[in-house]
């Protein structure tokens, strides 16, 4: 069973690009922020135009219309493809192919807000987001768009720099991958936890104090020995 929420979008070059769809909470926060910005903008317009009778009211209504319908469309078509609220939360609107959002898709997804809003307070949109693995609301489904986190989560970093050690036995590929992955995450974990996990691979690691040909002896704890094996798997320059 797949636990993470990433999606793989295939490009014409035949590679997959990982997308991280944003869930209901960050999107609701972004929406509230946008609502607040629009409210301020309209209040300022109302304060300025309020003195002008007739034409002032007309322009105010046109501004209200623009803030209601055009604000998200315009911002999503600018570079960055996000309204100020989404930008503040690190979100972005993309096509579900991973490509930048097209004008017709931006228009469609924002016009269909009406359908998402029904029966009240974005209930349909929320249900749709909760039911789907890619967190699309109705407008997103129809327009083929996706709201994603711009930043990817990186659990693994570069390996700690230690002297390489050969494993005790030849390793299969799955074993190599497991060792490299754990070594890559070793900086994020406590040393005790790394030791605990590395002990599971004890059969493959060189024994403690193993020192072939007068080299420095292998560390006693399994964690550093596993990292040393990972360095060996990485190869020499």
């Amino acid at each position: 069973m797949k636990l993470d929420t990433t999606l793989l979008a295939e490009t014409p070059e035949g590679i997959g690009i990982q997308l991280r769809p944003a869930g209901a909470v960050p999107r609701a926060l972004a929406y509230s922020l946008d609502w607040f910005i629009r409210f301020i903008a309209f209040s300022v317009a109302a304060a300025v135009l309020g003195g002008v009778k007739g034409m002032g009211v007309g322009i105010m209504l046109i501004i209200y219309f623009g803030l209601e319908w055009l604000y998200p469309i315009v911002f999503e078509l600018l570079p960055g493809a996000a309204t100020p609220g989404k930008r503040a939360l690190g979100l972005q609107v993309l096509m579900d192919t991973g490509l930048p959002v097209t004008p017709s898709a931006a228009v469609t997804r924002n016009l269909l807000r009406v359908a998402d809003f029904m029966p009240l307070a974005y209930a349909f949109g929320l249900v749709s987001m909760l039911l789907r693995a890619d967190f699309k609301r109705l407008g997103d489904i129809v327009a083929g768009t996706l709201v994603v986190h711009v930043e990817q989560v990186r659990l693994a970093g570069a390996l700690p720099d230690v002297a390489p050690l050969a494993p005790r036995v030849p390793l299969t590929r799955a074993q190599q991958v497991a060792i490299l992955r754990l070594a890559g995450r070793s900086r994020r974990l406590t040393t005790e936890r790394v030791d605990e996990l590395a002990a599971l691979a004890e059969d493959a690691l060189p024994p403690p104090d193993y020192a072939p040909g007068g080299t420095a002896p292998a560390p006693i704890r399994p964690g550093p020995r596993l990292v040393a094996v990972a360095q060996w798997l990485m190869g020499q320059h």
């Binding site: 490009t11 070059e13 035949g14 590679i15 690009i17 990982q18 009778k53 007739g54 034409m55 009211v57 007309g58 322009i59 105010m60 209504l61 046109i62 209200y64 219309f65 319908w69 991973g98 490509l99 930048p100 097209t102 004008p103 017709s104 228009v107 469609t108 016009l111 269909l112 807000r113 009406v114 359908a115 109705l138 489904i141 129809v142 327009a143 083929g144 990817q152 990186r154 659990l155 693994a156 970093g157 570069a158 390996l159 590929r173 190599q176 991958v177 490299l180 992955r181 070594a183 890559g184 990972a230 798997l233 990485m234 190869g235 020499q236 320059h237």
Partner: protein, 343 residues
């Protein structure tokens, strides 16, 4: 090849791509000398090129490296670095390259009327759902003026009477406010109604039909009532000009909504979601079309239709011209042109 050798060998390429993307983001022109491509020549991975073409070249190489790194199960940080780079270049390379002006011209001249014609059966259904209540309720109200009260309540009847009746002032069709104020009001009000007609289509199309039919009902009742009161000319001279755009727009919004509902109800050989996405692509030029129609209608309604000093005969003439224009645009414009596929 070990991961470390791989990294040492190809890192210059990745760094160059990163710098190239940075430069493109800043909008800087690459100053390096590059051979201009001959007409019809396709840049290969060894053609010396610069700027955007070089970035595209490096991007393809990076995609290859990423595929290799994944296939060989290289360490996560190496794959992650290539993934980030490839995703960034992918976004950059496949972005839109113009402001969409050529696409807009295409949309207005060919795609919008062609999309409307492609939905002619849906259009026919919605037009009937709109026109039949107008005729039926209109005639019923004409025969028995009290029938109007079964459709709208007395307060609304009084309001419409004040807008178009004997005591309506110089400005028709409104109780107060000047031209600009009403322009803003009409845009807000009418666009809201039409978008709801469209989006309600997601409820299997029933929502669109119900909303269009309801609007037809009200329109028929008001028209029939005003004719029996002897205010027919005042009312019809008011609505004829902007009605060409506004009534058409309401029918078009219902048509687009019905198409969405139809796709959900009868997706054919596609999944419901796929059918819906395709229907949305087909209807988006129609949505654009009714949106523009509504803005035109609001402007006409605010500045021309309400002007009481223009003789009804002139308004009928101009109104007929507008209807002819709308029908000619939707029916004839762009026929024979191979419309570009909708984006």
């Amino acid at each position: 090849m070990t991961p470390r050798q791989f990294e040492a060998r190809y890192e210059p390429c990745w760094i160059e791509l990163e710098r190239g993307l940075d430069a493109l983001d800043k909008g800087a022109r690459d100053g390096r000398k590059a051979r201009k491509l001959k007409a019809g020549e396709f840049p290969t991975d060894t053609t010396p090129v610069a700027g955007g073409a070089r970035v595209a070249q490096l991007y393809r190489q990076c995609c290859e490296h990423l595929a290799l790194a994944r296939e060989r199960a290289y360490p996560v940080h190496l794959v992650a670095r290539l993934e980030t780079l490839a995703a960034r270049a992918h976004q950059r390379i496949y972005r839109r390259h113009d402001f969409g002006l050529a696409a807009l011209r295409d949309l207005v001249l060919y795609q919008a009327p062609a999309a409307v014609r492609a939905l002619r059966w849906h259009l026919l259904v919605v037009a009937l759902v709109f026109v039949l209540p107008i005729v039926v309720v209109g005639v019923a109200t004409w025969v028995d003026p009290h029938f109007v009260l079964t459709v709208v309540d007395a307060r609304q009847v009084r309001m419409f009477d004040g807008m178009y009746g004997q005591e309506a002032g110089e400005h028709l069709g409104r109780t107060s406010g000047d031209d600009w104020q009403m322009f803003g009001f009409y845009i807000m009000h009418n666009v809201g109604i039409s978008f709801q007609c469209f989006a309600a289509g997601l409820m299997l199309g029933v929502g669109s039909l119900a909303m269009v039919g309801y609007n037809g009902l009200i329109f028929g009742a008001i028209a029939g009532f005003l004719v029996t009161r002897g205010d027919g000319e005042r009312f019809f001279s008011f609505v004829i000009t902007h009605g060409a755009f506004e009534l058409t727009a309401i029918v078009l919004s219902g048509t687009a909504g019905l198409k969405l509902g139809h796709a959900v109800l009868a997706p054919g050989r596609l999944t419901r979601t796929q059918a819906l996405v395709r229907a949305a692509g087909e209807t988006s030029p129609v949505v654009f079309c009714f949106f523009v129609f509504l803005i035109i209608a609001a402007a006409i309604e605010a500045f021309w239709s309400s002007a009481g000093w223009i003789a009804p005969g002139v308004k009928y003439g101009v109104g007929a011209g507008c209807w002819a224009l709308v029908f000619a645009y939707l029916g004839l414009q762009g026929r024979g042109h191979e419309a570009a596929p909708a984006r």
